[in-house]
């Protein structure tokens, strides 16, 4: 088997006496959309934070395309092609949508220690920003301050920001959080498109979306991976049903 794009090996992270990440190992192949699901408090965000570099693990390792990134700071991982969206929208509210995205492009286009030339007139950056905004269907909102955009639009900007850095791997932390039905559908459609271009790790509560999108699903319970496999296998897995999906209707209604 080829080298996986992302390899997480025996990762452990404790908070006091609680083991939030308990010996987690998982591989994400290039081109794959790998979903991570689990009930509240299963340690999904803790796991993501260790992948992005916002939290250090106590043991174990994370590698991206064969390179050990376990202890690299967040900004270095980003340079290596790892982009993330935040569970709680985290944008520059007093910047326009285009500026938000252009900054992400700027981070990956040469040095930012340039003090004199007007960065908003750099065609390369503006084009990249507009392309990414167009990708998520927000090109017409480019010059609006993010503080004036709706929650749904902000979720889409999150995605555009992540895309603008031209990542190899996209870590999406609950991109559907707080979205309405139609907005969710649009997001699923968008992810369907994006997965053709970039590998994705998706943490999500929206089960229909997860089962519609994922190539593989890992189920996290109390910090441990209790099952990993394709959607059909996860759906059939007795442990998963018992531990997490409980009343199986969440899954079956989508079959």
């Amino acid at each position: 088997m080829a080298e996986p794009l992302l390899r997480v090996d025996k990762l452990v992270r404790r908070f006091g006496g609680i083991i939030a990440t308990d010996n987690v190992s998982l591989d994400v192949a290039a081109g794959e959309l790998h979903a991570i699901i689990g009930p509240n408090g299963a340690g999904k965000t803790t796991l993501i934070s260790q992948l992005t570099g916002h939290l250090e693990p106590h043991s174990g390792s994370v590698s991206l395309a064969g390179r050990d990134i376990t202890y690299l700071p967040a900004y270095r991982r980003c340079a290596l092609g790892l982009a993330r969206s935040f569970q709680i929208t985290s944008l520059l509210l007093d910047f326009t949508a285009a500026d938000n995205v252009a900054l992400a492009a700027q981070a990956h286009a040469g040095t930012s220690f340039r003090f004199f030339a007007d960065a908003r007139k750099e065609k390369g950056l503006r084009d990249a920003a507009h392309a990414a905004l167009d990708r998520v269907g927000l090109a017409h909102r480019a010059d609006v301050l993010v503080s004036r955009l709706s929650h749904g639009e902000r979720r889409q900007i999150e995605l555009a920001v992540a895309l603008a850095s031209k990542p190899k791997l996209l870590l999406l932390d609950e991109p559907m959080a707080g979205l309405g039905v139609t907005e969710s559908q649009r997001m699923v459609q968008l992810l369907q498109e994006l997965r053709k271009e970039v590998s994705i790790v998706l943490v999500e509560h929206d089960m229909p979306a997860v089962f519609a999108l994922a190539d593989r699903i890992s189920v996290l319970v109390y910090g441990r991976v209790i099952a990993s496999g394709d959607p059909a296998a996860i759906r059939a897995n007795e442990d998963v049903k018992r531990a997490y999906l409980g009343e199986a209707h969440v899954v079956t209604h989508h079959v």
Binding site: T52, L92, L103, D118, A119
Partner: protein, 314 residues
């Protein structure tokens, strides 16, 4: 974009006033006003430099007066030792300020929020006490500068009008630089960090480096103000570094409008004119100044620039 606004009109009027002031002073024979405005222009320069870290960078430095002292002492100490050339004094003043900013910034930027305010304040107070201990250079009493910086006939700092225009040119130069910086790649990163540091790190910017460079640029600019101020008063003493002076600079920035280009200049002009005017009226001028400032902060979010902006819409 290029529409008429009240704040633009006020800014333009103020700038025209500053440029024409020496003419008025000469015509009316009022020398005092030129002396007063020289001081205002120099402190406006200091406030503009503080605005770069505070307004654009979002770092509340409460020790900015230290650079006024360092720039001033560089001029004063060199003059005392017989080095009177401005071509040496000014570069030394800038280099000393930059070095101090680099060291203090590297240490202070490990902290955030209130701790950052406190540590920058603490370092400035240290600089104050160090200066007080410089027995050779006047210690507590300060150091008289018997001869202003000598620019070999290029410009005569002892000529009131020439010196005023030198200060004004420095102010305009610094504001121009800040304008370019604010819209540059560097400036956008800086303002992004002010807005949301976590997000900026996640898209690949190591925040501290940018903030430190900003800290150094700002300190260097303020060092220039210090060198000019020492020449203006022919004197430098530890008092220019005292924390109340840092507070004055902060007030000017907030009063005028943080994060705006000309806000700090307007803030400095208004603050220092009020101080001058009120202190002539009464010994207890601070009793009037305090509530005035409170009103602006309470009802004029964004300072004078913010108020003018709202006038325009209303």
């Amino acid at each position: 974009m290029k529409t008429f606004t009240v704040s633009k009109a006020v800014t333009a009027l103020m700038l025209a006033g500053l440029v024409l002031l020496p003419l008025y002073s000469q015509a009316s024979g009022n020398i005092f006003i030129l002396t007063l405005f020289t001081r205002i222009v120099i402190l406006a320069l200091a406030a503009a430099s503080l605005n770069l870290i505070m307004g654009f960078g979002g770092m509340m430095s409460f020790g900015h007066a230290a650079y006024l002292g360092i720039g001033g002492y560089a001029v004063g100490m060199l003059a005392q030792e017989g080095v009177g050339s401005g071509f040496i004094q000014f570069p030394v003043a800038l280099a000393a300020s930059a070095t101090y900013a680099l060291v203090i910034g590297a240490l202070s930027l490990r902290t955030r929020g209130v701790y950052f305010i406190m540590i920058t304040l603490a370092f400035a107070q240290m600089a104050y006490y160090v200066a007080s201990g410089l027995a050779r250079y006047g210690g507590d009493d300060g150091l008289t500068i018997y001869k202003r910086s000598d620019f070999s006939g290029l410009i005569n700092l002892s000529n009131r009008t020439q010196f005023y225009y030198l200060c004004l040119a420095c102010l305009f130069g610094v504001v121009f630089l800040i304008w370019r910086i604010a819209n540059s790649r560097f400036g956008l990163v800086l303002q992004g960090l002010r807005s949301n540091e976590q997000r900026m790190q996640a898209i690949g910017f190591p925040s501290k480096r940018y903030q430190l460079v900003c800290f150094v640029i700002s300190g260097t600019m303020c060092g220039l103000a210090g060198a000019l101020l020492a020449n203006n008063t022919d004197f430098v003493s530890p008092a220019v570094m005292y924390w109340t002076r840092s507070g004055d600079l902060m007030v000017m920035v907030i009063l005028g409008g943080m994060g705006t280009l000309f806000g700090p200049v307007i803030g400095a002009v208004v603050y220092l004119l009020l101080e001058e005017f009120l202190s002539q009226l009464t010994e207890y001028w601070a009793l009037i100044m305090g509530p005035l400032l409170l009103l602006v902060v309470l009802f004029g979010r964004g300072g004078i620039m913010g108020l003018l902006g709202r006038l325009n819409r209303g």
